[in-house]
Structures are given as C-alpha cells and as structure tokens.
Amino acid sequence: MEFHEHQQSLFSRPGVGLGDRAPRMEDDRLLTGRGRYVADIRRAGAVEVAFLRSQLAHAEIKSIDCEAARALPGVIGVFTAEDLDDVAAVPDFPDPDLARPVGTFPLCRGRVRYVGAPLAAVVAVDRYVAEDAVELLYADLEPLPVLASIDDALAPDAPRLYEDWPDNRLVDVRLEEDKDEAFDRLRTVSGSYYMQRHGAVPMEPRGTVASYEEDRLTVWTSTQFPHIARTMLHYVLGIAEGDIRVVAPDVGGGFGIKAQVYPEDYVVAWLARRLERPVRWIDDRYEHMVSAAQARDVRIDLEAAVHDNGEIEALRACVYHDVGSGEVFPNGFNPDFVAVASLTGQYRIPRQQSGVIAVVTNKTPAGAYRGFGLPESCFAMERLVDRIAQELGIDRVELRRRLTIREDELPYVTATGSELDSGSHLAALESVAERGAAVLAELRAQETSADIRYGLGYATYVEGVAPTYFGTTGHWTSQDACDIRFDPDGGVTVAVGISAYGQSVSTMVATVTAHELGVPLEDVRVVMGDTDRAPYGLGAWGSRSTIVASGAIHRAAVELRAKGARIAAHLLEAAPEDIEFADGRLHVAGTPNASVSWSDIAHAALIRIHDLPDGVEPGLETKATYAPPGIQHVPREDGRMNACPTYTNASHSVVVRVDLGTGDVHVARYIVAHDCGRVLNANIVDGQIQGGVAQGIGGTLYEEFAYDDAAQPLATSFMDYLIPTASEIGPMEIVHFESPAPGLPWGAKGAGEAGIIGPAPAIATAVEDALSEFGIDEIVATPITPRSILGALRSARELGAVS
C-alpha cells in the first residue's frame, strides 16, 4: 500500500485540484487556435513529399518509371525502394512461434499488398507539384489474386500473401480439440459475432517533418509515443538513438492509430538525411483513409456451457481477425489477445478455452484503435448473454445480475487470469438498469407517432488498464518515468514519458505534481513529447497515463519532500520529521510562524549551498520510474495471465428510437455508470466517456471501412465514411462509482477506452427490444444500418403473411 496514507490526506484538501471538476488547463490554448501541430512546423528550405500509392490491392511490382516525374520543374527527387537500399526491415515480433515475421520495408519491395501501400516518394518544392509529379509516375504492376475477407484468407486453396508462409495465418493459436467436459453435461448456447472494419479518424490526420543538421536527425511527428518512435527509427535507419530527437507537438487526436510507426515516417526521416534539408509530409484525408491503421474486422465464435439458472460454467471462444496486410508494426494482432482475455468481463465463468486466428488479407494494415479488442469481445459476449436469456426465458437484467461477481467475491481471478481487485460491478448494473427503465417509460409515454418504437439495452464490461504490452518495441514492458526539477524561484518543471493527444494529461500531471509536492498549481510546468527533454517513456495508450505518471511522480515527490524537509528543518532549526507541507510552504508543526517557501529550499539547494545541512547534496531534482505492480508480462505455465494492475468496470444502458418507416435507429438516451476508482478530475473522465460513447455509436451505426471483392476501399472520404455528428449522439448521462484500486496511485484506474466498449451490444439488444413485436432477435453483426432494419421488417412482414 505504497500510496495510501499520504495520498488520502492530500486528497481531502479543498481547492482546485484532485477530485474537483477543475477546468482543463489545455483548453484555453487549444480552443483559441494557439495549438501548434505538425503542420505548423515550418523550417526554412523545407520541401514537401507526396507518395505514389498502389491502386491495386495485390500485385507484383515489375517496374516504376520515374523519368517524366523527375523532369517536372519543381521536383527535387523521386525515390523508390531501390533507392532506400540502406534501411533495415521494420522489426517483427520477436517470437515467430506466436506471430509470423512479415519483414516490411518502408517503401514496397517486390509486391504491394493493399490499396494505398506506398510505392514511391516524390519530393518537390510544394505539395501541388509533388502531387502533379505523382501522376506522372508509372508503376507496372502485375495483378495477383486478392484476399478480401477472413473467409478468403482461410480458404484451403487461398493464394498466399507471403510466399514463405504455409498459409495466411499471421497468428494461429488453435482451440484445444478436447472440449471442456461441461459441454457434454450442460445445455450449450452458441453464436458467431462480427464487428465490421472501422477505426480512428482524428481531426488531425498523420504527419511527419524531419530535418538533419549537424549529424543529428530531428523528427516532428504526430505520435502517441515519441520514445518508441525514436527506437523504431533507430532500428530501421541505423542511426544511434542519441542522435535522433523525436518531438510530438500538439497532437490533434490519436485514439490508437498514432501508437504505430508508419512507412511514411521512416521515409521522411530518410529523405531529410539524404537530401540534407527539412522534409515535410502532412497526409490528407484520402491518404489517411487508406494508410492509417484500421481496426475491428473481427469475428468471434462463442459457445457456452450453461446451467438451467443461466450460470455459465465454461466458455469456448475463437477470435478470427482480418489484420489486412499486417505491414504496419506491430501487425495489428495484439487486440485479439485482449479480446480473449476480456470476454468473461464481470461475469462468473470458471473456465475458458480460447483460440486466436489472425489472418492477412489485401486490406489496409490493422492496428490499435480505442477499445483495443474490448468492443469486439463485449459485443460477442453480451450478445451471447442475451441469447442465453432468450433461450432460458430469463430477463436480460436478471441474468446479468446472476452472472455478475459480487463484492464479497473480490478479488476475483477470471478464467484467463485477470485479477479483478475491486469494483462496483453489480451496483453499476443496477444503476443503469433502473435509470434506463425510467427513461424508456418516459419517452414511450411522450411519443405520438405510430411509426416509432423505443427499446432498452444494456452492456457491462471490465476494462484492464495500464497493461503490459509487447507491441511497442517487440518486448513486454509497462513502466514509465518522470523527472521533476525545481528552479531557484520555486517553480517546478515535471517532464514525463507519457504523451498528450487531447486527453488532457497535462492537467492531470500538473495537478498530481502540485498535490504531491504541496506547491501551487500555477508553479508547475509540464514537459512531454520530446525525447531530448523527457525521460524514456512508453507514451500514452491503454488507459495508462494517470497510473504510470502518477506512480513515477509520487516516487520522485517522496524523495523531493524528504530532501525539502531536511533543508527546511535546518533553516528553521527544527527536526525533519516535524516539517509539514501546506499552502506551498514547509512549516514546523505546532509553530505557526516558522515556515519557509519552496523557493527558500531551492535557493539553498541550488544557489547558496552553504545553507545546506551536513550530508545533503546540492540540487533539487529527482528522476523516478514506475512500473505498476501485479502485472505478469508473459503467460504463466497454465496459460493464464494478469496483464494489468487493475480493472475499470462499467455498465451502460441505452434507449433507442427506431423508425419503422425508415429503419433509422437514433440513440435517444445513453446512460453510463462508470467506475475508474478514484476520480481525479470528473470533467476529464466525463470527456473521455462522452467521446468514447460517441465513437462507439459511430462504430455501431455508421462507420465502416468497406471493401469490395477486389479489396478496393469504398470509404475514402467523409462522404462515405460516416462519423456521427452532435445530431446523431443524443443526450448522455454519466454516474461515477469510485472503488479505489488497492496499491495504485490515488486509487485511480484508467478511463481512456471506457465509453467505446459498450455501445455495440447495448444498441443491438435495444434495437431488438424495440422490434420485439416483429420477432427480430438476430442482430449478430455491426453496423446496424437502416437498410438492414427495413430488410428485417420486410422479412418479418412476409413471414407473417405466410403463417
């Protein structure tokens, strides 16, 4: 319980800070147009890049004719894989038994495997000329047979994407042949659930600017993990890490897609070194839609062995994932293991058998997107629970109530090894069920149109946060770091290894630092996103930032406070153990007038070191790292594994309004009961949940990276890729439960993915509820579209007419 006592006392302190609904410190700057993004990085003499991208999904590259493009006035150079012959392949996952090596190079060599794959880079005086020159490039491509789906890739005679593989399975962890004996003994309920390909489309797409000066490479890039990006650039370009500086300026949204290093990033850095001048590439929305990592495209087959009362004794699960070409490291298969480990959610399911089959196809490579396997697994599991409820004739909420682990069962170890340490699982469920029923009744009573039906749906889940992760550099890891230094005037600069992309981590870091040190918030400056200025860290993903940064800050603060107390005691002629921290000053307990400021302490430590007591070193700066406790970084002998230090839980309910005439599904009310332990700033957590729910609604009703049979992308602009706007989201209600995480800083858990996990299953069951009079109860796939609803209603009418 490293954190508790000290932090409990700080937490209760009133004022702007921890536990308050304090305003976000970033907002004023970002909302008044003073943000500085990659596209705002202007370097004298910079030239622009445009890429020739494959228009075919699968082809052999015969040749690329660059002559006409090179001759165009304003073109500085045209580069293909032949020119980039001094780069190493992007590293593959180090265990070939788990994931087959892909061996990708920044520009395609030999083959293209998806529409949008970069074939050549044109450098020109501006982007207009660069795009004109791209049109003059001629790539002679010999078409190859195309794989456009999981089934295509798994077909026995399927053509192979990688010639040295025996099949198209990037990952192939098979289900055991022997079924759990419970399946012989009990009723079995099964289903196959598919979530369509969609992904993150942040306001700011990707972009990289690089310069090479005085033997040093500087790369400004829109990334969630500058240090990892630096390590990857080192691997591929062969430049020492100390000779690379990676800077993430303001990042206009990431949601996971910027926790990948992309081909273009390597190429731009390579070009800056080759040309010895600044090089700039800012992608446009078309490029984004075909080249930024996409997500989901997952089918989960589930089978449960079920007692008559609905209790589930055993589960069999196989996750099938279309990871596209797999050519963006780390290949996109990691969410599948999160999906497997998250299926049981908050339910008491003693045993689980699991398989994961990730296949490569001719689509844009898959990668991280908010939720990271959880939306898929929650959709599958919650749909199966609804199915069980229906088959057994048990009310949907009552069944969930029976399945949910009770408080007296905590800590509870799930079938796959997750250690659920704390939570409000049942209370959150009851809360949203009650509120949802009330809202449903209210909306039904107000409705006057005969064409409108309302329905209520639910979803529950637990979200592992701050996990260990092998995707970042190919090795398991979970730590982060901070560096806190005082200036003589008492100001504090805290540098952290996490990264900001709109989720308000600056506010969190500053508030935590101010509280830990007992200094005013306005005296704290936060540094992050710069490998020259911040300590090595893994960046921001996996709902980890609050936990890992707070842990490191706490450790550094403990040391700084101890040192401050010794210096203060010396200056005030008191004992160090009598020094108290309050109102930005260090006081002697019981002597109200005896106090010094942090500036006095810093002066002694940095300017007048003769004021220091014996044995106290000059300087007032501390570095600390923190790896959350309790994490297993590799699976245990029995295959189980606890990948996270704690688990956030939530229940969602939703009331949908279905228009029988148009098939329109509108989210009339969305209700979230959320428990991320101690809420440090409810404004920030609410924002995370609201944004997540909005994206979840998008993924359930609107967003789809659709492809045709030739694996040609059909959604390459916001005309075709529909993101929900404020009109489509509907009102939201959020309730916070607070079950502190034992042994973690502040008892706080993560909240980054929370909102996006529940909408798909909650909306699906709500739609079925709304349409129950028509017997529509077979929603097993997303997106749920007006066309599919009208089609189901038509079928129901026709069936009704026959019977």
Partner: protein, 281 residues
Amino acid sequence: MKPPPFAYARAGSVEDAVELLAADEDAKVLAGGQSLVPMLNFRFARPSTLVDVAHIEALRGIERRNGVLAVGAAVRQLDAERSPLVAEACPLIGQALRHVGHLQIRSRGTIGGSVAHADPAAELPAVALALDAELVAAGPAGQRVIAAQDFFVGPYMTTLEDNEVLVETRFGVLDARTAFVEYARRSGDFAQAGIAVAVTYEADGVTVALARLAAMGIGSAPRRLTVTEERLQGERLTEDLIGRAAAETEIVGEVHDEPTLSYKTDLLRTLLTRGLREVTA
C-alpha cells in the same frame, strides 16, 4: 488532395462567361464550388479553366413574374432559404433547402450550381421537377429554355451543353400545399431518398386538383411519380387513400439489384406517406 493546375477567369457578365467557355473546350463553370472543388481536389475533374460566374450581378436576382419565380443561377442557397419572396411564392424551395448540407455549405452553394450539377440525390433538382420549372441556358447562339422534365437525364448529367451557362431557374408558382420529406443517415448528408410534394385542391378544399410528386435518391435522376399523381387526382386525400397510394407506388425505370430495390421502395413509400400527410387539407 491538391487540384491539378488550372486557369481561373472571373466572368463579368453572362456574355463574358459564354465567351470564356467558348474559348476553351475544357473549361468548366464554377459557382459556389461546393461540389466542384472537392472533385478538383480528388482530381476527378480536371478542367483547364474555371469560369467563375458567382459574381455576375445578372445571375443574382430573385423575381416573381408571369406565374413563375425566377431565381438567378448564382443566388446562394442560404439567401433563397431566407428570402420572403421565395417563401411566399414557392415555399417548397425553402422546405427543401433546409435539408441541403449544412449552413456553411448553403451559404456558399448556389441554386443554379445544384441544379446544373444534377446529383441524383440532391434536393433542388427534385423541387425543379415538382414545380415544372424551366431552365434558362445561355450559349453562343443565345438563350434557350429547357423544361425540367427534359433537363435531368442521368447521374450528374443534364441536357445543358458544355458551352452553355445556366442563367436562371423559373419555378412554377402554384397555389399548393407543399412538403419536402427525405431520409438521410446523418443530418446534412445526401439523402437515401426524398420526395417533393405539391398538391392543389378543388374549391371544396379536400379534393385533389393536381398532385406533383418528385422523388430523388431512388436512382439515376429525380423522377416524377406520375402513376401515383394520377391516382390521387380527383380523390379526397384521406389517410386511407394515402396508405393505398403509397403501397402501390413502385420505382420504375431504374435498374436496382435486390435488396436495394426493396430498400428504396420501402423508404420511398414511407416518405410519400409522410409527405402526403403533411399536405392534407
């Protein structure tokens, strides 16, 4: 997403615009730019010259004369939407414009631009069709008038010649009750389907004298539902009649596979029902 190189010419008058078009066979008319500019950025369209007609004063008027509402081609959609004259003479135009994109788009987009672009899911072509509009085109040989029925021939295809400029749309002024109903997946999107409805009544106030029904988003171009129109004529527009007329309405003359045909048909019947309910006396 940068356009290929093009020349830009701002036309000072209709004659000027016609001359500029005649001088370059790959020239294209630019008005509000709300459809053309994205197409340029995608390099789907690559005109050598853009002839900007948005500043021609003669194209910016709204006038009621001889039983028609004449709207200049360069009138901004938002200006038409807010015009009392339009609201009084042809309320259907305002009813439809509210569904066109978003406010920002309507503040740039023009009436003539939308009509000439002829997106099969656009609202204004359906309105033009419902109100038996006449399209006035200016070309090297002078002006000619084209009936809306003869104007929209396919997706993004009209009978306007490459060397002609759309000058004016003359919407018929009817003493009708009107409604515009559409369904789009998101607010501001191009519709999945929509219908412009104008119904005039006999002196008794309940018997349909004339029904004009123009559907869009159901195929390659907006279409009048002539069979349904005739079905309603001379009948009292009751809930029962609306139900029967809608159920009997089919999409004709379009090539759709299933389940698209069923989907569009179901949707059209819903929208027709709702549109007719809005205009019942």
